[in-house]
Subunit: 434 residues, 2 copies
Amino acid sequence: MQRRDLVKAVGAATGAGLLGLRPDADWKSWRVNDSRVNALLEAMGKIGRTPDGGYSRTGFSDADIEGRRYVAGLLEQAGLGVSIDAAGNLIGRRAGTSADALPIVFGSHIDSVPNGGNYDGPVGSLSAIEVATTLKERGYRNRHPLWVTVWADEEYGLTGSRGFVGEVPPEELARPGREGVVLADQIKRIGGRPEAIAAERHENGSIAAYIELHIEQGGNLERDGINIGVVEGIVGIRAFDVTIIGVANHAGTTPMDRRQNALLAAAEVVLAVERIVRSAPGRQVGTVGRLAVKPGAPNVIPGEVSLSVELRDLSMEKVDWLWEAIRDQIDQVMTKYQTTWKFNARPPHRGALADPGMKAVIAVAAKSLGLTSRVMPSGAGHDAQYLARIGPMGMIFVPSVGGISHSPKEFTRPEDVVNGANVLLHTILAVDQG
Amino acid sequence: MQRRDLVKAVGAATGAGLLGLRPDADWKSWRVNDSRVNALLEAMGKIGRTPDGGYSRTGFSDADIEGRRYVAGLLEQAGLGVSIDAAGNLIGRRAGTSADALPIVFGSHIDSVPNGGNYDGPVGSLSAIEVATTLKERGYRNRHPLWVTVWADEEYGLTGSRGFVGEVPPEELARPGREGVVLADQIKRIGGRPEAIAAERHENGSIAAYIELHIEQGGNLERDGINIGVVEGIVGIRAFDVTIIGVANHAGTTPMDRRQNALLAAAEVVLAVERIVRSAPGRQVGTVGRLAVKPGAPNVIPGEVSLSVELRDLSMEKVDWLWEAIRDQIDQVMTKYQTTWKFNARPPHRGALADPGMKAVIAVAAKSLGLTSRVMPSGAGHDAQYLARIGPMGMIFVPSVGGISHSPKEFTRPEDVVNGANVLLHTILAVDQG
């Protein structure tokens, strides 16, 4: 990488020299403002609080809109031209010096799950704003346009980033969703123009790069004392709603050998999912997270059970193979208990591999900042997986204390936020000059 | 039985002769009014209907009160002196000719489960009224006082029959129950005097007999073409609310080998209950009917599962033994999944054996009416199990079509209702003259 760094530095020096600035010589010593980035995060932490110390800034809620108003103001203070795109994403733009350079896009989201934390999303969003502010303060003349993005409605379904690449189909926009409100009306509520999503979509090859800083949400970095995760890819997700149908009957009057107990069958399915997922080598995961019993009374044999099966891996082929194995097993369980089953497949989230070049840039940035790093997959979904469809994608992880996320207990230490923001800063500078 | 019948007939003839009546010679030819008893049932079927064709006459509800008003009128028409006792039970009394004879008590309930049927309870209650009407029409002079009872709030917890024998403790009366209303206030709402339940309780030895006609609720009689079930006893019930505690975590970022998944543990518990209950010889049953997962999202590893374990058998000792075996198994499952558990035992329903004499009287009544019968346990709980504490108890079952109960599809054929009412009539006559 030394030769490449040299080339970059030379290139940057040439451009900067023409403009009377000298960013080339010293940018590797640039750092974000430690206390400011954490103060931004703390201020965000006053918006959408729940009684038990968590946050409910769910997409399109009043708290989400209050949070968006706050970050829109910050984007303006950072000297960016702020607008809301068709899908409702907040975008702060700074023009570049090169007429034909594609934009470098970076950011994250600020919406949360119900009763979640203040780190999943805001760490990346506010660090991106801090990076823009630092570049402004340094008088840096970026070659590429810089777009700081705050994606809309990430937690519920990556709505904003899907919209950015044109992957929110009309039928989804028209469907009654949360609180019975159709998605199009939700997007309008935050200033988007749902009818223009398809027309204004960003095509493959339209961005120079997308870089996102995010908390790990797992416990690996913190447990092993690693500063930075270099994401190798975001796992693909397939989820299924399975319904098992037996016969509800009186728990006192129906002999054990005359039952068609949907819960016994479901219990075997739960264990089969675990067994099949663990039987294959690799880092795939599989989870039954939801399970509901009808009628659900202690004195009635369960007549129907609905449950979710969720499978994740970097390889969608492996996910498909696992599901086939699970289906075969469910068929056998149904025969055993004289039950039947059906399933509904949710729209799959295709995973995405990070760009090899971006991974290298992030790893070098961490190293030059004196930080340790590790290449790792992202088990969680992120807006980055949709941005990866239109350009080289890179993601930076910082440790989550105890691996806890989607919880009021979610926490990332201030020094780790600063580390992440600095890696983001150096990554963007390196890409801009690359 | 021939000699005993002869003695009875002679005794009855003597008493009747003194009063100028001759019930002795012909009562075995007496029958209830076929169409009338089914018309009473049909009229009850207009009260408390649900949109999908079921009934919600839950105890203390407006529909329950409307049903009670209807049967109170019928009790009066049957020439009975009607009152409401301390626990809210409707009682229609007819004096007997013998000053020191204990009352013969017979009846059932009219309340239903939410969205249940019109047969569980009403068949026995309205047949009891029909029997009283038939005796009145025949000018029968009963030796024993006859008490026709319509027990309050059977489905939720046998409240009325427990109150009758003084088994509703003050703390239960004071506890906020359904819809947050304390039980004492519910009982007052239907005309009871909860403060007098303990003082007015009926002691052991205070009744000559208790006889209850009820639908089987299982499918055995109908499947095998048997007219009448002679109940040998009502199973005891123990129910437990089990809570399994694991750690909720992100389903994408938590590796399979670092999970403490409460639902995997629960699935093994569900299967263990089935395995243990089926491993012992006998007719015991065990059911996990309720199971709830927290937080219950497809993308979150279950952190907590609560489930019910219900065990029933004629022998409470066997029920206790089964629970001990299940507890041992749960302990092992917890170790395997690094989860913990706790449980809460619901108040047990002690079972009750029918009186051998009563079983014989019912069987003879069925035979003399030309009906087939079978001795069988009751897997369901009934008011009769509390009445058994104060005197000889007998129960008569009639077939449930398809064994379906606690459902809008619950149904007992009109001819089976008539068969049951006639067996009840002859049983009461035989006991009165015995």
